[in-house]
Amino acid sequence: MPKATNADDSDPSDGVQIDLISGERMDGMATMEKIRMILDGVHDGNIVVLEEGLTPDEESRLIEVTMAEISPDEFNGIEIETYPKSETRDSSLLGRIMGTDQTETKLTVIGPANQIETLHKDETLISALVSRN
């Protein structure tokens, strides 16, 4: 599986890489593929932004796998913030009535906990202060 990294050979110490991952790219992936792609990016010190976030089940597995990979002085976990997509704009009326609407698209920002100084969310903005270490 190709990793979501830059095509060029720039030195990572030059700055912080931000991977903006489209919903289309995530569509064909299995849960563990998505989680592997996110955590590989975060392990590399990248900020991963998902156009369409994860399902609750995938989020719970992301926490579980993250915990398994934490190790002293190397990786101490992730920071994550999410915007749910507005229900009124995005759910179909039928889906809402039937309770079957599963297309809860949401923007999600994930980064390494040791590099994200603050990850703040208000009503319309996710703001991350990232250190280069």
Partner: protein, 212 residues
């Protein structure tokens, strides 16, 4: 006794027996670190079984493995409900051993963080596989709108698990139960102080109502 009354009593006895033979519901106590989950679990266990579940501490991740107290019988309005209480480690997305080095030496801090990560992973696994209902404990003196809380409540809702939100630590001056009610208006919020034992009657009433 009339035939109808006898029949009704007979049916009632059968249904009571069926109910009593049901497996106890496994109720997971979830929430962020230091919300008072173990204090609440101990309060419930002591009140109904006489034994505690585990040690309590102000140091985050004192509970590092899920602990279960089986067959806790709670009696309300003449009806007994039996639950297994599962006290879980505080859910988080990061664990840094250096947070514990003020309280213990580095070796113990590293061991504590390793155990904590295993415990959180286990708690997440159990949430998907092994609990029938959730008591979500929040520190009412803290802002409830955090990513972990929002995510966990979303995961619980997606599994259609019955959930009660307990706004703990109402004995603290900064406590605001309304802040929690406003954050999660779709769920019932019950104020309490597990440490002081305040409002435990309502807590037990709601547990019986939701999980019985």
């Amino acid at each position: 006794m009339g035939l109808f009354t006898e029949l009704k009593d007979s049916i009632s006895r059968v249904t009571d027996r069926l109910f009593s033979e049901q497996e106890p519901k496994r109720i997971g106590i979830y929430g962020p670190p230091n919300a008072g989950k173990t204090t609440l679990a101990n309060r419930i266990a002591r009140d109904w079984t006489g034994d505690a579940i585990g040690a309590e501490s102000h140091v985050p991740h004192e509970t590092r493995r899920a602990r279960r107290k089986e067959n806790v019988e709670i009696e309300r309005d003449g009806k007994t409900v039996t639950i297994d209480i599962v006290d879980t480690p505080g859910v988080t997305t990061k664990v840094d051993y250096e947070e514990f080095t003020d309280e213990m030496d580095e070796e113990d801090a590293i061991r504590r963080s390793r155990e904590a990560t295993e415990g959180v992973a286990e708690a997440m696994h159990w949430l998907r596989e092994d609990v029938d209902g959730v008591i979500y404990v929040l520190d009412s003196a803290e802002d409830p709108i955090t990513q972990v809380n929002t995510m966990l409540i979303g995961i619980i809702e997606s599994r259609d698990l019955p959930v009660l939100i307990f706004a703990n630590k109402t004995d603290l001056e900064e406590s605001s139960v309304k802040r929690i009610e406003d954050a999660f208006p779709q769920h019932t919020t019950i104020p309490l102080s597990a440490k002081e034992g305040n409002n435990m009657e309502e807590v037990y009433g709601k547990i019986a109502e939701y999980f019985g």
